[in-house]
Amino acid sequence: MSGEIAQAFAKAKARGEGVLVAYAMAGDPDLARSVDVFAALVEGGADIVEIGVAFSDPIADGPVIQAASERALKAGSTLKRVLEEVVPEVRKRCPQTPLVIMTYVNVIMAMGEERFAKLARERGVSGAILPDLPPEESAGLRATFDAAGVDLIPLCAPTTPKARAEAIARDARGFVYCVSVSGVTGMRAELPADLSQRLDVVRKASPVPVVAGFGISTTEQARTLSAHADGVVVGSALVRAANADGPSAAKALCADIKRGLKR
């Protein structure tokens, strides 16, 4: 298990803050300029950076990240290039911030699970999130990642029954990613009423921190959730900001959200 993720949560906690996990798409608008976006997220206060690697058929993603995936693929983004050209640059500019790869399982399979785990670890990646790899299918891949020191971060959904959520949490690596809404990634004006209760259940069972993600884009939402989670994930809102107004807009949004996470 990589220690960097636990450390990032511990540091934020010591400062009396919830953790901001900030997502952007590698290769959007191109590989080099996406490095500036990732650096801006950290300057804005992100504690952990999620590096999205585009897939042609992103079934868990809403329109904003779908469009970002298409731009990234057009710009020639591949997992190999992200590990060779994006990750080391982000690592250099933000040496303290844990990096987590978010992509779909087919992209990892195409590179080879072992080859990916080894290369990712060498380049300084701490974990991976694969939204189409539920626990039933993840045993083999997780063992490979464990051996390499890459955390396979599990997801919990609103539809996940309590006992299953607890089992996922007990067995988690890195942190538990609690999906806030039944649906795809993307901003939501309102989050479900039972979310805080679900977070409490998972948190009670989990030996690792618990974060909420999907639909979160405002200071207020971050503030409400910070009482029930160790942090939040923000994705689509940052991708949209970076695409519309550049890295500085993403940085400003990170700072806004981070304000909501101060306890």
């Binding site: 189409d132 039933e136 299918e137 039944s182």
Partner: protein
């Protein structure tokens, strides 16, 4: 007889690669399906609807003039084109929509390529009184306007999908995204023997009525099982349906025909069994058309139903283990076969089906005289007349100019 090695797995293929949000729904479906399968009243209800509404059993037709023209085995046609709505797709949608009703689901969503599965789903929903939404690639909406109208006439909402290649794979992505958002009260009727477990099993079981009928009909018609059965393969629902009941019959050759599109070397085809590599698409591990980086490639076929870069996991297993022979037919070969069948047998086959016919001649000759070849005539070609006639019509036969 089953090729399932463990639950939901066919050798290396199958599984359930979906967002966690959908896993509980798939577990619920698996359980409901197991219960329904064990309940004889469910099987009886499906059988009753297939008889009274769909018109089953579909007939087994001797293709006498094709037999003569090809000069080899006796050719017989399993006439799924005569099932209500004009293709085999209705066998599965009747079963799944009845299952959804049993599960208390309030609405139905589906994806469609050629529109046949969409029409069949809309038909079952009209029959059983459930609202229906069909996701269809915008390109397919353009090239299958007849089926788009049929779905709308049946009361369904057709949702054109503008992302990606604007075909079946993108329609399936969008249907899955919608399902994730509305999973508690919605059943997703998948039409191919693909997708996450238990769909490949559910669809195969509902479609196996084709092969089961064929066993009985072949015995009655020529006193034995066929020597070979040939079916077209896109996602593979008609192929697994007609072939599955014969997997244990080692003397029956099972042949699947994929779309070679503009040719296998052109890169524009739908031949996932022939040229695909192992990957995960739409919830199962199977053979898919992808680049070295794991990006799914766009498929191409003149027939919208074969224009898909993946294939059902059980067919991938049957192909890899050699139980099923895999062949391909190009767009042009399928078109030629369409006219050949039209003019020798008086049947307009669907363009998908025409791919199976395109490999019929050589298989009939390979088998030789006295043997029996059955072609699964999976659907009728009315939906394709715009595509086909746009390429011009060959002169009439037997008329002096």
């Amino acid at each position: 007889m089953t090729t399932e090695t463990t639950v939901g797995r066919f050798g290396r293929y199958g599984g359930r690669y979906v967002p966690e949000t959908l896993v509980p729904a798939l577990l619920e479906l698996e359980e409901a399906y197991a219960k329904a399968s064990a309940d004889s009243s469910f099987g009886e209800e499906v059988a009753r609807v297939l008889k009274e509404f769909v018109g089953r059993p579909t007939v087994l037709t001797p293709a006498r003039r094709l037999t003569e023209a090809w000069g080899g085995a006796h050719v017989w046609l399993k006439r799924e084109d005569l099932a209500h709505t004009g293709a085999h797709k209705i066998n599965n949608t009747v079963g799944q929509v009845l299952l959804a009703k049993r599960m208390g689901k309030k609405r139905i969503i589906a994806e469609t390529g050629a529109g046949q599965h969409g029409v069949a789903t809309a038909t079952a929903c009209a029959l059983f009184g459930l609202p229906c939404e069909v996701y269809m690639g915008a390109l397919d909406v353009e090239r299958q306007s007849l089926n788009v109208f049929r779905m709308r006439a049946l009361g369904a909402v057709v949702k054109p999908v503008e992302s990606g290649s604007r075909t079946l794979k993108d329609a399936m992505n969008e249907a899955m995204r919608t399902w994730v958002s509305q999973v508690s009260d919605t059943h997703y009727v998948i039409g191919s023997a693909a997708g996450p477990h238990p769909y490949p099993t559910v669809v195969r079981d509902f479609q196996s009525v084709i092969g089961k009928e064929l066993r009985t009909q072949a015995q009655a018609a020529f006193g034995k099982l066929p020597d070979a059965i040939i079916a077209c393969v896109g996602g593979g629902s008609n192929a697994i349906g007609v072939l599955h009941p014969f997997i244990g019959d080692k003397d029956v050759r099972l042949v699947g025909v994929e779309a070679a599109g503009h040719g296998l070397e052109s890169g524009q085809h739908g031949a996932s069994l022939t040229l695909g590599t192992e990957g995960v698409l739409h919830g199962s591990r199977s053979l898919v058309l992808q680049d070295e980086h794991g990006q799914i490639q766009e498929a191409h076929s003149i027939s919208a139903g074969l224009d898909y870069p993946g294939v059902g996991p059980e067919l991938a297993h049957l192909a890899k283990t050699g139980r099923m022979e895999v062949r391909t037919a190009t767009d042009d070969e399928a078109l030629a076969a369409f006219y050949e069948v039209a003019r020798t047998e008086g049947i307009l086959p669907a363009l998908e089906t025409s791919h199976a016919f395109a490999r019929g001649r050589e298989l009939a000759r390979d088998l030789g005289k006295g043997k029996y070849l059955v072609i699964n005539c999976s659907g009728r070609g009315d939906k394709d007349v715009a595509t086909i006639s746009a390429r011009g019509v060959p002169p009439p036969v037997g008329v002096k100019s």
